[in-house]
């Protein structure tokens, strides 16, 4: 498959549904090693994304991604807002002019997204953040050759689970030091939901 404007819209429509469904769950993760707002933040942001996407017209995938980015940046706040916003902004810039987005372009897009998050957050893998899901997913895209044969969802799920074992060194969870071990990182969980939604779009278009 290739990702068309309507696929991109469907992707984020599904992300919003999942975020809304998991709002309390995400907040509860943030209650343990954060400040109890991650689900609230994400739900506020993606609801607004959905409001935008369902009423505006877009020329190309990059426009959708940019709308997502700008909306998250201006509606989410906290750490996750600028980070997810930067991710989709970089993604958008990488695929600008390419429509629909083929597998290779998509891969460079999420590579750029990951770089954007790492640069913005001054963080790397193994610090118990959303990067610990983004990075293995990017790797999975680099290894595979098309959307359909790419086990990125399994990879994402495992990566999310594995954040339990990490001691946080970035973000709010770092204040808990050793006590942060044993819990899933909230941003990792929401990143997983984003890729779960992507998988459904891919499956649906088969």
């Amino acid at each position: 498959m290739e990702l068309r404007v309507e696929d991109a819209i469907q992707w984020f429509t599904k992300v919003n549904e999942k975020i809304q469904e998991n709002k309390d769950y995400l907040t509860s993760l943030d209650q343990v090693i954060g400040d109890s707002d991650h689900g609230i933040n994400m739900a506020r942001g993606f609801q607004e994304v959905e409001n935008k996407l369902s009423t505006q017209e877009y020329q190309e995938v990059a426009d959708v991604l940019k709308e997502v980015a700008m909306t998250l940046i201006s509606k989410v706040g906290g750490a996750s807002g600028p980070l997810f916003g930067t991710a989709f902004l970089k993604f958008s810039q990488a695929v600008k002019g390419i429509n629909p987005v083929d597998y290779t372009s998509f891969t460079s897009g999420i590579e750029e997204a990951l770089q954007g998050v790492m640069h913005r957050g001054k963080a790397t893998t193994g610090e118990k953040t959303m990067i610990d899901v983004w990075a293995p997913v990017v790797h999975s895209f680099q290894e595979a050759h098309d959307f359909e044969d790419n086990p990125f969802l399994k990879v994402a799920k495992q990566a999310m689970e594995d954040t339990k074992d990490i001691m946080a060194t970035k973000g709010r969870a770092a204040y808990f030091k050793g006590k942060s071990i044993g819990y899933i990182d909230p941003g990792a969980a929401s990143t997983y939901l984003i890729f779960e939604a992507l998988e459904e779009v891919i499956k649906g278009s088969k």
């Binding site: 707002d37 989410v76 706040g77 906290g78 204040y175």
Partner: protein, 331 residues
């Protein structure tokens, strides 16, 4: 969850409305933003001071907007740093062509959102500088992590940088005095109860009837150590010693002291803490120049307090003493 609110999603909006109607001549809200500014912004040829952060820390930060202190305070959702576009509105509104100075508490969210706003402002040709406040000694000071949090010590940065700017100092001078405050201010907090984010509806952790948390922040996150409640004197001693162990304040120094209530601690208890803090500092030969007791940087209705010490020199003393019209810090 018992709160005097209308709708958990509207608390910030309702609060800002109430703030402006309480001080309609001194402050105003920028239309369709969560930014509170001095009524007279931009003050031409004065460095504009912008701070802010998540809501739930009232009177921080809008209470510190006023002549001699902040020009703008940007409010985020409860415990959530505000977004770059809001911060940008604040920056633009206070830019009187002498540049804008940002006072940021060291949280990933605050740093990222304010930094993005600064980038956007610079792209519009506004000179922006910033300081990051990280006074909380409860957290390890490590270059491998996010490092220490900004808590009640931030108010001293607002006051002193605000006074400097009011004197007509240049952007780099404001920055350097703010950095001096950051280098000399340390805080440490404790809590008896958690607090509840309105939209979350339940407290972020639980404490038994006989337990307290030492080293707690201002966002309902649990602290570094949970133990049995001790006496006020023991609590005061533990907080002060943890600060003194950081090595910034010692015999012969002059300090400003802040005993900050986190939300539901009666002022009576804050004064009981102050009594012991004062006694310990006297014993150590540390001279108390000025003391502030009250609610300056809260965490909703959390019960507990923090102690802040700021080492002073002549410049800081005179800036601390100079006039401020900010409702929450009148001097």
């Amino acid at each position: 969850m018992k709160k005097i609110i209308n709708d958990p999603n509207l608390v910030v909006q309702d609060m800002l409305k109430g703030m402006v109607s309480a001080n309609p001549s001194a402050i105003k809200q920028l239309p369709e933003t969560t930014v509170i500014v001095r009524s007279d912004v931009p003050t031409v040829n004065k460095v504009g001071l912008v701070s802010g952060g998540g809501s739930g820390h009232e009177p921080a930060h809008a209470g510190y907007v006023g002549k001699g202190m902040l020009d703008a305070a940007v409010a985020g959702e409860v415990f959530t740093s505000p977004t770059p576009d809001q911060v940008l509105e604040g920056i633009k509104a206070v830019n009187g062509n002498a540049g804008v100075f940002l006072i940021i508490k060291n949280y990933t969210g605050d740093v990222l959102n304010f930094e993005m706003a600064a980038e956007l402002a610079e792209a519009e040709g506004i000179k922006v500088e910033q300081v990051i406040v990280n006074d909380d000694v409860a957290v390890e000071d490590s270059s491998f992590t996010t490092g220490r949090r900004g808590i009640a010590g931030t108010i001293f940065v607002h006051k002193i940088a605000g006074a400097k700017a009011e004197q007509g100092a240049a952007l780099d001078e404001v920055k350097s005095v703010a950095e001096k405050v950051v280098a000399n201010v340390r805080s440490m907090g404790m809590a008896l109860t958690p607090c509840t984010v309105p939209a979350a509806g339940k407290p972020s952790f639980e404490l038994k009837e006989n337990e307290m948390e030492i080293g707690i922040g201002i966002h309902g996150e649990s602290g570094i150590e949970r133990k049995e409640i001790s006496t006020a004197d023991e609590i005061a001693s533990e907080l002060v010693h943890k600060i003194l162990d950081d090595g910034v304040h010692g015999p012969g120094d002059e300090v400003a002291v802040m005993i900050n209530g986190l939300g539901s601690t009666p002022e009576m208890e804050l004064y009981i803490i102050n009594s012991k803090v004062n006694e310990i500092l006297n014993e150590k030969g540390i001279h108390v120049y000025k003391t502030f007791v009250g609610e300056y940087m809260t965490a909703l209705e959390m019960a507990g307090c923090s102690v802040t010490l700021l080492k002073l020199d002549d410049e800081l003393k005179s800036l601390l003493d100079s006039r401020s019209e900010a409702p929450a810090f009148l001097v």
